[in-house]
Symmetry: C2
Subunit: 202 residues, 2 copies
């Protein structure tokens, strides 16, 4: 009887603070998301628990899962695989719970293809948001520096266009407030809830 949950994907350029924001999201007492645990082929480190920190898996099994389309997204780093098992995500969404993924931009691209109605949030470094104000400011910066910044900005803007929302990470708690507001709002979006009311008529 319950409605389906929303797949929430938090991504952004490396170094923007995705992990910090994700931890702050889950440290709120009223956090209602399920965190999707990644699968990896690397060895567990001291103290890491299978099914808590990661799902630890052999390389052979991981490659089999790739073949079978059982990974929502995956990537290879330094000879090891990292990925998101799709079954957990699907089952949790079906159970009416929101699933929260914090992944790299390449992974987010893969997820968008498989879950077009996921909720994609781009965490934006404040430098880009402030760029405009800085550049139109005193005019003391060299043309080369401005051009370099423009180029960096251009690349990041290209990335953002596939996301539904842009949240500037100028302050972690403020970013968490915005993410929570976005999720709350999305649960009221007509396209997500109208089916429920249309089903009434059948």
């Amino acid at each position: 009887m319950s409605d389906k949950g929303i797949l929430i994907v938090l991504s952004g350029p490396s170094g923007v603070g995705k992990g910090t924001v994700r931890k702050a999201v889950f440290s709120r007492p009223d956090a209602k998301f399920e965190y999707s645990i990644s699968m990896t082929t690397r060895e567990p480190r001291e103290g890491e628990v299978d099914g808590v920190d990661y799902f630890f898996q052999s390389k052979e099994k991981f490659e089999q899962l790739i073949e079978e389309g059982k990974l929502l997204e995956y990537a290879e780093y330094v000879g090891n695989y990292y990925g998101t098992p799709v079954d957990y995500v699907k089952e949790t969404l079906e159970a009416g719970k929101d699933v929260f993924l914090e992944i790299e931009v390449q992974g987010a691209k893969q997820v968008r293809e498989k879950f077009p109605d996921g909720l994609f949030i781009f965490l934006m470094p404040p430098s880009l948001a402030e760029l405009k104000n800085r550049i139109v400011g005193r005019g003391t910066e060299s043309e080369e520096l401005i051009n370099n910044r423009m180029e960096a900005a251009r690349k990041e803007i290209e990335l953002t266009s596939m996301y539904d929302y842009i949240v500037v990470n100028d302050d972690v708690e403020r970013a968490v407030d915005k993410i929570n507001a976005i999720v709350q709002a999305e649960h009221c979006r007509t396209e997500r809830v109208i089916d429920k009311y249309i089903r009434i008529q059948r």
Copy 2:
């Protein structure tokens, strides 16, 4: 330099409690919206102030404003006109402030045509939201009663499809929380903010 504000339109069937919710929105100390004052041709009542409760206007002037396209929406009730002056709305949005309209569904339809990128919120009576649960419940209700409810539900669902969000008015403060979350989220929507970042590059 400031970004444009968002036109927020709260509407819904009569009797749903739009006025109560709108007052509760504005009674919050952190309310950051500008309320759009309606224009009317009816006589001011005892204590009503021009430019506070309404803009009071002659019938001739009101009809001239209609002709000139100076009303965002209008309707006639019992021989008097009621409408929303478009200039105030446009100037306030240009100044970077959000404008809040609380209007009937027919007016909201007119506004959608003129401001397709407005933020349209449908306030839903809880009866419709609960309808499903009730109907699939004990099965004690007569077929006629169920059919009547279905017909009422069908009409309301048709209305909602032009709105961006559906907020159930089961509790006034909860509805206000949702409206505030929706507005906060919309300020992060990629389609609303990406132009700002693209402008950086020019």
